[in-house]
Structure formats: structure tokens, C-alpha cells
Symmetry: C2
Subunit: 207 residues, 2 copies
């Protein structure tokens, strides 16, 4: 779509200089998550965002030129939040497989609290393909780096490839869709444990 | 979106009575895959579809009432093609883990030849959420049934859950996105082998 190739010059790259400015930008992004999440990109409006944020229209244009631009900033913001959600699992020095279990569990909790994230990131495939691809490529790189660190520590196999990271990311994304967004019929702890079994020893009968 | 809740009364549920009719319906669906895949749902048009199909506009209305309706029929058709692509792997009586490897390899080959399938099924999340959800729920059920059959034969662990099936489906979908749609830098055989390693014995160092 044409919007996907629009130049990425973002006013929002200019960090607000004041604490008040930072709060306003935060309010706009949080309101945008709800507006885009509920109405979708095409139905969403700038006035819908400022109304939800309780800010004047002028404040919007201090930070963004257009609906496209705040959407791009929002995808980047949500991508950062996904990273931060997993970070609690990474703060302490856990065993490599335990880190993966905790990262998935944290992500599932996060996705339950922010169900709109799926709709927004998935819609980016059409509205802003560059951000969509960047989100998954950076997430996979982060997982791959963790796998290599685990191999370095002697806990994981040698030769873990980028493809292993994409496989793990895919597991996590679909478990989030099924057990955080579509239904909460199974606890995040249980889902993360079942997925972690696969990474620990596969699904073959032990023998 | 409003289109998502439109009633699912499909003319196309009436199977064409003649061989010629079946060929026309097939041509329309194949043309729709290209039209929706290239232009997206909103930009795509019925005349774009009939022009690509080389059929008269009247033929379109013999089978479908609207653009929404052929889109729904297309998602169902593609969902069936994904199932068929894996079926070659399932025709013979392979070991359970070998079946999963072959099913993924077949899917990766299929996705390379039909890259548009991702865009169409992903756009269904917005245009026709019921079909989107049905596609993944039926795919996961099929995988889960294979896992239970493998456990029954004594090859896979007991207690494999629906969550294991969703995890495997997620792996396959994201490996297809990365290694069939976005880049062909790694052979499907190699990607399927790497993913299968995870199912065979996880990613922990043996010891």
C-alpha cells in the first residue's frame, strides 16, 4: 500500500524536552492503541485519538504530521513494550531454557492485558509493512542472541540457527493469539510450561 | 469491521453442476487470489477478478453476490489448499515425527509458489475474522489429531495438548513467512530439518 513507502521522517523522533511533553506524547500513544485497536486503521481518526487522550488537537500536531505517522510510532512503541515485557524474565541470570519459559509467560500476561497489540501489529502488514517486518526481525534477532548465549554457556546445543529463533517466535505468537487474545481458558503458566517442554526435550517418547 | 459479521450465505456452496461450471469457478478463485494478493481487499475489484479470469461479469454473479463473498470463498479455498499441500506428506504411513517434517517441507514449497496466501489469510483477520479464526482452528485441530495418533502408536509422548499443536502451527507459519515469502535464502528441506530437530529432541545440550 502506498502508505507503506511514505518517508519515515517522524517528528516524534524529537524526544519531548519537558516532563509535561513526555506525558502528553505517552497519552497520545496510549489513546492511539485503543483507537486503532478498536476501530482499525481505516476507521480510526486523529480526533478520536485526541478525544481519548484528553488533549487538544494542536498537541497531536506537535508530535505527529498524520494518522500514518502516529500509527508507525505506535507499532514501534508496542514493539518496545513486547521487548520490555520479556525483560523482567531476563533481568536475573536464569538458565537458558528457564529464560525462554519466563519470557513466554511474561508475554502471555502482557498480551492478555493488551489484546489490541495483535490487531495493531497484524494491521501493520498492510498499513506499514516496513514496521511489521522490523518488529519480527528484531524480535527474532533477540531470541537468536539468547540461544547463542545459552549455547555459549554450555546449556543449549551448538549450531542453533536463525531458523530456530523464528520457530520459537512463531510458537510464542500463536500461543498468545490462542491463549491470551481469543480465550483465557488456560493459565499463562501452564501454556508456557507446555511450550517449554518442547524446547526441553521435544515431543518424542523418551526411550 | 462490518463486513466480518455479514451473513455467510454463499451461492458458491452450490457446487457447479457442469464440468464447464467447475472450470469457471476455479478460474474465478485463482484470479481472485492474484487480485486480492496484489491489490489487497480494499483496492481489489470484481472487474479486476473477471478480467484476470477471462470470464464475463455475469459468470461472477452466477457464483458470488459480492467482493466480500468471493473473498470468503477464497480464504476457505486456500485453507483447503494448505491442507492438501501437507497431505502428500501424510499419504504414506511415516513415523510421526517424519510426518511433521514432511508436512512442513511441503508447506514451505507450497508457500513459495503461492506467496499471496499470507497476505490474503492475514487480511482475513480484518475483512472476515470468522474465516481467519476457522482457518487456524481447523489447522491446529488437524495437527493435534496427528500428535495424538503418534502418541497412540507409541512414538510421541503422552499428554500432548492442544497447546503443543498451536506451538507447532506457529513455528510452521513463521518459518513460512521468513523462508518462503520474505526470502528464499535457505532451502525448504533445511528449514524443515532444523524445525524438526526441535520436535525430535528440543534445543538443550544432550547430556
Amino acid at each position: 500500500m502506498s502508505t507503506g513507502s511514505a518517508p519515515h521522517h517522524r517528528l516524534s523522533d524529537k524526544v519531548p524536552r519537558t516532563e509535561r511533553g513526555r506525558r502528553t506524547l505517552r497519552k497520545l500513544l496510549d489513546a492511539a492503541a485503543i483507537e486503532f485497536g478498536e476501530r482499525g486503521f481505516h476507521e480510526a481518526s486523529i480526533t478520536g485519538i485526541t478525544r481519548r487522550a484528553g488533549t487538544a488537537l494542536g498537541s497531536f500536531y506537535t508530535y505527529f504530521h498524520s494518522k500514518d505517522e502516529i500509527f508507525r510510532a505506535l507499532v514501534s512503541d508496542l514493539s518496545g513494550k513486547v521487548r520490555e515485557a520479556a525483560k523482567s524474565a531476563l533481568a536475573e541470570d536464569h538458565a537458558a531454557l528457564e529464560t525462554e519459559r519466563m519470557a513466554l509467560e511474561a508475554f502471555l500476561h502482557f498480551a492478555r492485558e493488551h489484546k489490541e497489540i495483535y490487531r495493531i501489529i497484524d494491521e501493520a502488514e498492510f498499513v506499514d509493512p516496513t514496521s511489521f517486518r522490523a518488529h519480527y526481525e528484531t524480535t527474532a534477532s533477540r531470541i537468536h542472541a539468547r540461544l547463542l548465549a545459552g549455547a555459549e554457556k554450555g546449556e543449549l546445543r551448538e549450531g542453533l540457527d536463525e531458523a530456530h529463533a523464528w520457530a520459537i517466535m512463531g510458537m510464542n505468537v500463536f500461543l498468545g493469539l490462542r491463549y491470551a487474545v481469543w480465550s483465557e481458558d488456560t493459565a499463562p503458566e501452564r501454556v508456557a510450561e507446555l511450550a517449554n517442554e518442547i524446547l526441553r526435550h521435544g515431543i518424542a517418547r523418551e526411550g
